[in-house]
Symmetry: C2
Subunit: 379 residues, 2 copies
Amino acid sequence: MDNINQKALEMHRKNRGKIEVKGKVPIENKDDLSLAYTPGVGHVSSEIGKNKELARELTLKGNSVAIVSDGSAILGLGNLGAEAAIPVMEGKAALFKRFADIDAFPICLSTQDAEEIIKTVKNIAPVFGGVNLEDISAPRCFEIERRLREELPIPVMHDDQHGTAVVVLAGVINSMKLAGLEKEKAKIVVSGAGAAGTAVAKIMLDYGFKDIVVLDSKGIINKERGDLSPDKKYLSETTNPRGISGGLAGAVKGADIFIGVSKPGILTGDMVRAMNARPVIFALANPVPEIMPDIAKEAGAFIVATGRSDFPNQVNNVLSFPGIFRGALDNGIKQFDDKMFIVAAEKLAAFVKNPSVDKILPSVFEKGVTEAVAAAIKD
Amino acid sequence: MDNINQKALEMHRKNRGKIEVKGKVPIENKDDLSLAYTPGVGHVSSEIGKNKELARELTLKGNSVAIVSDGSAILGLGNLGAEAAIPVMEGKAALFKRFADIDAFPICLSTQDAEEIIKTVKNIAPVFGGVNLEDISAPRCFEIERRLREELPIPVMHDDQHGTAVVVLAGVINSMKLAGLEKEKAKIVVSGAGAAGTAVAKIMLDYGFKDIVVLDSKGIINKERGDLSPDKKYLSETTNPRGISGGLAGAVKGADIFIGVSKPGILTGDMVRAMNARPVIFALANPVPEIMPDIAKEAGAFIVATGRSDFPNQVNNVLSFPGIFRGALDNGIKQFDDKMFIVAAEKLAAFVKNPSVDKILPSVFEKGVTEAVAAAIKD
């Protein structure tokens, strides 16, 4: 890890970042200039002035995404601020290009006020075909995404929520086939009720799971809890049908699927042993998961997925966000709809032709993943 | 012109714009991913979190410029709005890359409120190393630039003002040599008191010209005028030492240099004939100048410059803005200072080794222009 850190620092220093903005038309003589810039560009502007929808055909807007962060929840590192968010957003822009040929640009905000963020994103929206919100802490991320979806004419998605939820659901769909589970009967535990946990719980509900129990840092979320933010309150009303309370050990007892988007090491071998037959474990805290795969396996886990690339079954948003935005841009959707994310998860799951306990998801470099997911994002 | 318009439209449609955002590090396997993205990027973020100045060394911030417009004054076309501004700003981004290897990105704003623009630019500033304001109408452009220069820790320049002023002053410096004029005695007329005209008048004052007369659409600006915005009021107090009033014909009578950044065809042959010996004419209205070069020459003009590439002496901001921002980024200046623009004009003028009446400025494709101008922009 020290080695990777040092190498990463050197690579960033040597290249001064990871993306560049390049011209894609020649500018080598006066004729080129007269088409790419004045006077020719004036006619293009006039045409768009008459019909602003033409911007999608005549400018980068047809293929551009703003990657917006306020630096309040950078990876697992916390609130490090706008400048510290740049390397992550720049990396994300590089991934957008690499996996979906999308021209994405990092927008790192010096404000963490929700209203101010909403206003700023609306003000800069004209040049973009979509908005990817990233690393914005809960619960502000929910309100910011909801409002921007309502108020902007371009699709807006908080990747930490839906990008993660799509990949988790895809992995769960294949895991259920392998473990012989049915969504009407399976018992699910979601540990963590931040951006990812909340979105995972919601997509599982929408998909048709009936018995989901969600925990935050204070324990199981239920109707008796008086300390809940609006989104947790929603979870208290829609999950936990058995009305249980307490901590993680009680929650996982007899459960079929554990999904952790919380903290390193909180799931013990004994807890796995207390789960139902063929326990399915998604231990997604990164870089140190809720339980290490070898310990989970030893305790009887049937399938283990993590966020890491050095174990089988990596849950990586790179499997979802490039295709989601590729589809949004190509299919000209006005706004995302949560149902699209379920279809995206189904397409991603179906992309794995022969799922096995060590292969519930495609690897990020498999060709065709982006296209498979993109096909789901249409009106 | 119809032909260029049609060709420009086709070129924009075929390419869907003129810039793209490309990765500049390989992402071909898990090792690449672990350096460009997680987990390696986390260490880079942590380091910047501890010292945000490192963003200039480790991210695109060291080489990036925001091209900000609200679409209120697009070329000579007027207030066409944010979407219509995109082709111009995208073209500008392509020019930044082509002429200065700068990674510039178009930010086209859906607001035209000065306070809102200031706030938005401040909110998105962290990822940028500089801000190029563009095609924002006067008088808001003055206040917006002034405030952003005061309140942002990165250099901010309104190109329609200073980019133009630098090239005009460079052309004037070489014209004076050829015409045998002295700045203490020369009589200058500036027609137009928008962004460009105001900046041209100010740089000429700063350079040491004593007798400058500025006109807006209502005539000569003087102390008697009661209808002046703050910036025009400043001009009324600092220009027009002879206290003249009236229109263009009176203003140019006996003048040495005419600088038009105003309207097509307003300077007549008779007006040129009424100027001093060896009249120098900068007729920069675009695409149709204040006077066509052949008419001006026929009336005795010694030097004629226009904004067009199909006549000699093209006054083109491409001669200035790439070098100005290249210098700003390379030399790590905190903010522009108007004196830097004078030095830039002097360097640009000196770049022309043997000025002649048909060559007072370099052509935009001459190698070394950017570097020459960049050398001027340092503390």
